[in-house]
Amino acid sequence: MTDTITATHTPPAGDLFSKFDDLIQTRETLLASGVEDPFNLVMEKVLSPTRAVCNGRETILLGTYNYMGMTFDPDVLEAGREALTEFGSGTTGSRVLNGTYQGHRECEDALKEFYGMDHAMVFSTGYQANLGIIATIAGKGDYVVLDIDSHASIYDGCAMGNAEIVPFRHNDIEAMEKRLRRIPEGAGKLVILEGVYSMLGDVAPLKEMVAIAKQYGAMVLVDEAHSMGFIGENGRGVCEEQGVIDDVDFIIGTFSKSVGTVGGFCVSNHPKFDIMRLVCRPYVFTASLPPSVVATAATSIRKLMHGANKRAHLWENSRTLHKGLTDLGFELGTKEPQSAIVAVIMPDLERGAMMWEALLKEGLYVNLARPPATPAGMTLLRCSLCAEHSAEEVQTVLSMFERAGKAVGII
């Protein structure tokens, strides 16, 4: 720990890092208790979508968002290799200059087909997709009404766009309606919702919320990052499952979860949508995705259209894990399994970190999530299931949780 700052270190006056002192202190206290650093784990080898070697141990991966297990799909890998050979390692350019290759177009075509929408725009990350679309369409004088538990990329998009930001209590339909009603007449309105909220794995009441938003003349953007591929009849997400996809103006998504690579996108039926390519700064002023990435994404998206069996198995896994953990006496983020995320609520950060480490030593990786990323100051051990986890693996996971939970004294 030679590179950490000690509490006795006196910073020079005007040190802009002083604002992080509290956080540095919290982190040091945690590490001083002897636990492995939960935010500094290195995967030395990745064996499959569900297995890796971490700190020399073979580990079951249960915190990767690799929901559909596409990262080692042979067709996906082959498409990536071919594109790498044919088109090179990178585009070295913006989408609007030299950075749009055939592969980017094919990827956008695959998205249009997947969602049955007229327009698709691929960004370099999901973060940039939210940042870019929100900041560009909601400007000064407009109102953004959003769920208080929205992802950081949504808040950052709001901050960049200078619109008036009006949050409402998580998933509270009435609180949302009240705020829409109070917005001055004539002002532009954008309602931002997520299909699945990633911290607790709970689903939004989109059916009611989208209907109310439309009633007040608002445009609606739904982030479906954590539902693509396995929620809704065609895997289009919660807005498909709840029958409101035709009333949603923009769907934001990512390639870094079910699709199994990196990148973000927005799909829309707005007739003027294409102008975004010229005015959206996080799209224009950055290099486009490498050819191998868009080739793997396009192949994966097309395979996800026919992933019914994998989807069914993923849901089985989610239900088994949720029931097993409940029966063991753990407190979970949702009463019923609503998505492929099962969040285990920890009593505090210290015991959360101890539990995280005990699981890692058992050979299980989960996400440790803590404030400010989590709602209500909670510490969570977040499990995200994969369609490639076998039924036996889920049982193994449950026995690991049982031993670790008893050792740490949580159950």
């Binding site: 109102y143 008036e164 930001i165 009006v166 209590r169 109070r182 917005i183 400010p372 209500a376 100051g377």
Partner: protein, 80 residues
Amino acid sequence: MTEADVDQRIRALIEPFNKKGVEIKNETSFANDLEFDSLTVMDFVAEIEDEFDIIISMNQQAEIENYGQLISAVHKLQDS
């Protein structure tokens, strides 16, 4: 509604949030004196919004650090 009326109504609203019974003056700060965390801020703001049927956007909240600023902001908002 006068600023005094606004003050009176917000004083009643703040009571359940003022866990330590801090004396409320114009210069009482929400972050330091009252030690409101972000969740408390959200709940408190929602109460005020409902009471006066107004919106206090996050942008406006960022400008409000103490009690006096809140009263004058709400007074302006409910008038407009």
